[in-house]
């Protein structure tokens, strides 16, 4: 029936990865130098993969659009990385991390993959420490941990509020070691614009040099995409400005299925927007919810007041009230929806935009009173500084203002247990794949997944693919290579020469972002999704007719770069809405208004929707394929965080 085979092993869940590893084919050390692998994107997944493949002896060609791999957006992850080390002796285990991740994802992930992730988590910490990643430590010299949303154990390792930075610099340094050894040939300021298929297999990519504008082709034995997520489809998100879907979208249009595109995470604690010309939103780490208390005024007339003048009994600590067990540490989707409902009631605070005040307080006065300002500074100093720089307010004295914002995308390229897409020889790792987080990712799990994929999983499964496939070299004069190059040049020509150039790429990006945020953001419903699909179709036509790119293409041209990315976001936005429309249930971050309990909780429909929606490109419109999810080891339950 389905074209989708997860290739997941069977048998005892705790033996599956071990069994699979034994069954994977190997390549002997002396032969590895005969193989060439392309890695696109050098964030946590890509850099760790480049390092590991290089160490093993393969020839790696890597590409990133930034001026250095060290700038990848993984660097901005703040709070931490989960691992089931149970160093705190609070009952953690592989099984518990597995269960928490399945539950956090609202039972929309593949059990085998999630269990493997939990199994590998501890090893990631070992690896990072050996590279010199300066995790926080206790006075005893042992590693420190903190707790995070969606868990009742302390399993999060952290480096102040810069865990992503430190882990990325660790992976980048490991990759740099392999650049020095000659096994990794890296090109920065290079954007992948097309994937090259030969006999149905991924054999190369077409790249635009962002400095000269030159278009070149690169061939290899297989290709791995580590190109991150697509939250920037919403225009305003916590992602770095350059983050885009173009690589994954090119793969989709060549036959890689796109899974669960509507599963996008809205992070509850971001600094609210203050005006129309804002270019991005900044996250305040979820770790702040450990010690900060979220509240809104009980009375609407208090919303304009100085928060310090609002009496204790007039404050509604709504997460503590609604979810006494997890309180401020409920998962992100639950917290975000609660914040939205408070603001929808008119109890929001902060700057009024379009007649709405979108914000609630995240208050640190109790913890400052309890442990002192110095201790708070040691834990969260850089986050507090960042907040003050952006907002102009001192969070040691005034509560922070926060509001949810798009932050992470669980959806992405469909992959099997080997992280291979539906295109032979095309792998996807890190946020670029749809992976382990189901319908909602738990905090501190993105870094874990990116590094598990890059250090431990993809190096083995890629080797297996190379060992099993006899691949003839592909020359740059191969007709499929020439065709891919021509397609890229045509597309650039179209972007540079719209019939009636009028509007900038940003104009369109803001438009599609607003449509998606309204119809496919924190809450969705049938009618508005249908309307959004029509609006996006019209916007797409408008874009190709009127987009205006100044300058020339054979030069550094950031306007052209943006235009290409926005064109892909528009198409992806359409698919996000279709996916959201098709899934007539609420689960995790996907909240369909028609399918919510009276208290706002998601009403999941396991009978009809316990599947991964994998969309297949076709010129007549995307085709839905389903990977049915089987639950042998966890029993899907109603997520209850009360």
């Amino acid at each position: 029936m389905s074209k989708l085979n997860s290739n997941a092993p069977t048998g005892d869940i705790d033996k599956r990865w071990e069994k699979h590893l034994f069954e994977l084919s190997l390549i002997a050390p002396q032969n590895r130098g005969k193989y060439n692998i392309i890695v696109i994107g050098t964030g946590l997944a890509g850099a760790s993969l480049c390092a590991t493949l290089g160490e093993s002896g393969y020839n790696v060609q890597s590409f990133c659009f930034n001026d250095s791999p060290r700038r990848a957006h993984s660097i901005a992850a703040q709070g931490g990385i989960n691992a089931s080390k149970n160093y705190q002796n609070d009952g953690d285990s592989t099984q518990r991390l597995f269960y928490d991740t399945m539950k956090g994802g609202d039972f929309r992930a593949r059990e085998s993959n999630v269990y493997r992730l939990a199994q590998l988590s501890g090893n990631i910490i070992d690896q990072a420490v050996s590279q010199g990643v300066p995790f926080a430590r206790e006075y005893s010299g042992y590693l420190a941990n903190r707790s995070f949303g969606g868990a009742q154990v302390s399993r999060t390792f952290y480096a102040r509020g810069q865990t992503g930075q430190q882990l990325l610099l660790g992976a980048y340094s490991a990759m740099s070691k392999e650049v020095a050894s000659g096994k990794v040939k890296h090109q920065s300021r290079s954007e992948m614009l097309e994937i090259i298929l030969v006999d149905g297999k991924a054999r190369g990519i077409v790249v635009r040099d962002l400095v000269s504008g030159e278009i070149t082709a690169h061939t290899a034995d297989c290709v791995v995409m580590c190109t991150g997520g697509y939250s920037n489809a919403f225009y305003l998100s916590t992602n770095a400005k350059g983050c885009n879907t173009s690589a994954t979208w090119r793969a989709y249009k060549k036959g890689a299925f796109y899974a669960n595109p509507s599963f996008t995470q809205i992070h509850p604690t971001c600094i609210p927007p203050t005006g129309e010309n804002q270019s991005k939103l900044t996250l305040m780490s979820e770790s702040l919810r450990n010690d900060g208390r979220i509240w809104a005024p009980k009375k609407i007339q208090d919303c304009g007041k100085d928060p310090r003048e609002i009496a204790e009994e007039d404050r509604d600590y709504f997460l503590e009230r609604m979810y006494p067990a997890f309180a401020n540490l409920v998962p992100r989707d639950v917290a975000s929806r609660a914040v939205k409902s408070i603001c929808d009631e008119g109890r929001g605070i902060g700057t009024e935009i379009h007649g709405e005040k979108l914000g609630v307080y995240l208050d640190f006065s109790s913890i400052i009173e309890h442990i002192g300002e110095d201790k708070v500074r040691e834990k969260y100093g850089n986050l507090f500084d960042m907040y003050e720089r952006i907002s102009g307010e001192n969070p040691y004295q005034l509560p922070m203002k926060i509001y949810p914002a798009p932050h992470y995308t669980m959806g992405g390229l469909w992959v099997d247990y080997n992280l291979m897409t539906t295109i032979d020889g095309l792998f996807a790792a890190g946020e670029a794949n749809y992976s382990e987080h189901g319908a909602n990712r738990l905090g501190a799990s993105a870094l874990m997944q990116g590094l598990a994929d890059g250090y431990f999983i993809a190096p083995r499964t890629v080797a297996n693919y190379l060992a099993k496939n006899k691949l003839e070299p592909v020359g740059l004069d191969h007709p499929d290579v020439v065709k891919a190059m021509d397609d890229v040049k045509d597309r650039i020509n179209k972007l540079m020469n719209a019939p009636e150039p009028k509007n900038s790429p940003d104009y369109y990006h803001k438009k599609v972002g607003r449509i998606l945020w309204a119809a496919c953001g924190m809450s969705r419903e049938q009618e508005s999704l249908k309307a959004a699909i029509e609006e996006i179709k019209a916007l797409q036509i408008d874009f190709w007719q009127h987009v205006k790119v100044t300058g020339i293409d054979k030069d550094m041209n950031q306007t052209l770069e943006r235009a290409g990315r926005v064109a892909d976001f528009i198409e992806l936005g359409h698919l996000m809405c279709r996916d959201a429309l098709e899934r007539e249930e609420s689960c995790g971050c996907h909240a369909r208004l028609e399918y919510l309990e009276s208290d706002g909780e998601a009403k999941r429909d396991d009978e009809n929707f316990a599947y991964v929606a994998a969309w297949e490109y076709s010129e007549e419109g995307a085709i839905l394929n389903k990977e049915q999810l089987d639950f042998e080891f966890v029993k899907p339950s109603v997520r209850d965080y009360t």
């Binding site: 060290r70 203050t274 940003d506």
Partner: protein, 240 residues
């Protein structure tokens, strides 16, 4: 708020650049510096002109991509802040802004105010790592690290590799950048094993790239958005 901008425009590395003057009006005080430049670029697109090219990515002060010298100060005058984290409310009393690239021979201009900082990558490749391979690590708690050492390592490791230290230095020295990595790894038992060769190799690469030496002007420390201490340079020199 209204601003007169004098922006360095340069076609490419080979050509000569000069300042061009632009006017941007009605800028909200909560607009970030780079958002103000975004608005200028939207104006330029409207006038069929090529946009001003500048580096940016995270816009939250951590990726190290953004640069710019603003009125003579790398990352502007505000302490401990990258350009992307500057807000126009800081410029309430300055309505004329001079915007230039980071200037150093080892950071050649690619276009306008955007420079090539690949030299930093090559310095890291020369030794800014621990030679550990994936899969060979012992349990993370098998080697204890004194908390003050871990904290000192973190303080050095927090460098974002932006290059402001080079841009402000009269010698265009990269000593603060190089020493931060050397000191970060020297504070930890995992990194200490290779400290001597690491320092020698990284400093040699710094010299090969054409960066100057440190002669204690200490400007680097004062412009560093991460407030990396020049004490790291002492650590580096001790290891050479």
């Amino acid at each position: 708020m209204n601003f007169t901008l004098h922006i360095w425009r340069q076609k490419n590395a080979q050509s000569k650049g000069d300042f061009h003057t632009y006017q941007v009006d009605d800028i909200d005080s909560d607009t970030s510096f780079l958002e103000m430049l975004d608005q200028l670029n939207e104006q330029l697109i409207g006038k069929d002109e090529d946009c001003v090219v500048f580096d940016y990515d995270c816009r939250e002060g951590i990726c190290g991509a953004c640069s710019l010298v603003i009125n003579g100060h790398p990352h502007g005058e505000k302490k401990a802040t990258t350009t992307c984290q500057l807000y126009m409310r800081e410029y309430a009393n300055q309505n004329e802004l001079w915007i230039e690239p980071f200037r150093a021979d080892s950071f050649p201009v690619i276009k306008d105010v955007l420079t090539n900082r690949d030299a930093f990558d090559r310095i890291i490749q020369a030794g800014g790592y621990v030679s550990t391979n994936t899969g060979s690590a012992p349990d993370a708690n098998s080697q204890l690290v004194r908390k003050p050492d871990a904290d000192a390592a973190f303080d050095a490791a927090t460098c974002i590799g932006c290059g402001a230290c080079v841009a402000v230095c009269p010698n265009a020295s990269a000593s603060l950048f190089v020493s931060a990595k050397i000191a970060h790894l020297d504070h930890l038992p995992q990194g200490k094993v290779q400290s001597d060769t690491r320092a020698t190799n990284m400093v040699r690469q710094m010299e090969l790239e054409g960066f100057g030496s440190c002669s204690n002007h200490r400007h680097c420390e004062s412009v560093c958005p991460q407030e990396i201490s020049i004490a790291n340079i002492t650590t580096m020199n001790r290891l050479l």
